[in-house]
Symmetry: C2
Subunit: 328 residues, 2 copies
């Protein structure tokens, strides 16, 4: 690997001058600048990041800490983060905590040791992120706001409202709620958005909370038995919706003929499952890209006010909701 010294030696100039060229500093003549660039290219010079890191304290690498890549929301996010980071010359260091707090803690320790310049983090659980305090690095949260930190997420309340509007439009007034964990803000807001949109027109006939991974608790199973009470089941996310549809199918209840179901997230498989799921689409790619952008702002600059960035969501109408005749 060629170093600054090699280039300097080859041209009979000092290392400082060569360094100046690459860092776009003044005080180097046009002619020498050209020569240096030419020789550098020819020698395939690449700055040694480790040396730069030691000197400047910046690594041009960021951490991405996720709870679970197996949850289909995250691969798409990770892809977006990695791609926009790379396009800006940033390396992404991945930590997947498998939803275990120790995993998260270990991951942080590793990232700090490697002195990443910042961390994009989707914290697990509702508990406040203790490790953040002594991090001394910019942090951008995804999807789970915490006071005092920058966060980017979707407008979940809006998603809830859109679903409520749609439900009414399709003639559904008696609905069951299969919400996500209410201690996670994003799940809570989805619910709030739906429930508070038309409180007088929509009747919540039952409500159960389950995990975002879609495994149905006995309570949830029991709720699904109460056939005929609700004409529409509003699930906290697509995984939950798909589980519900499966369960109903096992019991010989067909969706959407006998009961309608909506999801949330528009994961890839909503399009592949039968019936195709009507759901709310988040702009996952945009969220990832924005997170990197915010990160970079914070890395290179002065303390910026920690703000929320909220993206609009969109209703994707597919086949899992039936139009009820107005009399019903």
């Amino acid at each position: 690997m060629a170093t600054l010294k090699d280039i300097a030696a080859a041209l009979g100039v000092s290392v400082a001058t060569v360094s100046n060229v690459f860092n776009g500093r003044p005080n180097v003549g046009c002619a020498t600048r050209q020569k240096i660039l030419r020789v550098a290219k020819q020698m395939e010079y690449r700055p040694n990041r480790a040396a730069q890191a030691m000197r400047t304290g910046r690594t041009r690498a960021i951490g991405l800490v996720l709870p679970d890549l197996t949850n289909p929301f995250f691969p798409e996010l990770a892809q977006a983060v990695e791609n926009t980071a790379r396009s800006r010359g940033l390396l992404v260091c991945l930590v997947d905590s498998q939803s275990r707090p120790e995993g998260e803690a270990d991951g942080f320790a590793l990232l700090m040791q490697h002195a990443v310049d910042g961390i994009i983090w989707c914290p697990l659980g509702p508990r406040p992120p203790a490790q953040l305090k002594n991090l001394a690095r910019p942090v951008v949260l995804i999807d789970r706001p915490r006071p005092g930190y920058a966060v980017v997420h979707s407008n979940y309340r809006m998603g809830g409202r859109l679903l409520a509007q749609y439900a009414l439009r399709m003639g559904h007034t008696r609905v069951g709620l299969l919400s996500g964990p209410q201690n996670i803000e994003s799940a809570h807001q989805r619910r709030e958005g739906f429930v508070k949109a038309f409180p007088r027109s929509i009747d919540i006939v039952w409500e159960v909370c389950v995990g975002f991974d879609g495994v149905l608790t006995p309570e949830a199973l029991a709720a699904l038995e109460q056939r005929g009470r609700a004409t529409l089941i509003v699930a906290g996310n697509d995984l939950i919706a798909i589980s519900a549809i499966r369960r109903l199918a096992e019991q010989g209840v067909s969706v959407p003929e006998e009961v309608s179901v909506t999801g949330f997230d528009n994961i890839r498989w909503t399009d592949i499952v039968t019936p195709r799921l009507t759901t709310i689409a988040q702009p996952v790619g945009a969220i990832g890209a924005k997170a990197v952008e915010l990160m970079q702002e914070r890395m290179s600059g002065e303390k910026i006010a920690s703000r929320r960035t909220i993206f609009d969501v969109e209703l994707i109408e597919r086949d899992s909701v039936r139009q009820l005749n107005s009399g019903s």
Copy 2:
């Protein structure tokens, strides 16, 4: 951040001694060793990886280069790789090329600049990996063997054979093949395993190749029209199988009543789709873990013979294949 120097100063010993302690070198008395460790813990000393990297040339970070996290095979793999790497103190730097060769090339450049100690790579496409030559770092391939490189993958041929056995057991002798891209070795071997298992008993009535992403070509669509010819469709992977089932459903053909379908990979959603898909399970977690293990062997040691590591696969019987009465 505390440094070796700080610890040395606090105890009135030399940096060298402190360094020796952490590197497990001899020539440091038991008493001083204890003291140093105690003070280090108290000061929360963490070695500066950048400095270590500069001195030793090793970063204790590895690259993971994948074609597309959106393909459900990869998140699980990435999770396994990250977790076993972390448990061994290795940081994982992610590159997702989005199936674009330029992306792959950019990613490699970035990883080299950061001087990762090795690369775990699932190369895209059939073309030989040109960048490997001047890499000067150990490489472990996943799923796509290349002469001269270590690779870990599943026993695809075995998967094909298992499917053939199962097909016969269920009474299917006329099958249609919806294979993956035959220039990718893993797809090719799945096909070979199936076709060569019982050439005299199983009749391949039609055969079409499509991409692993499951989008059906006009040719594939046409093949699916030829109802009644094949009683079983053997798909190159689960995505393809699921697409086929969807397509058949749209045409009012029910699976498995009218035609049976098998997949390959056992991605998470095979369990959620209707009908639940009968498929071949790869031990993805074990593959990822093994790749890291091989990587570490190669990082720390002398050149080891580049070998294949092949994992057994398993038939997962679900609901997408019907038992034919022997007369049929």
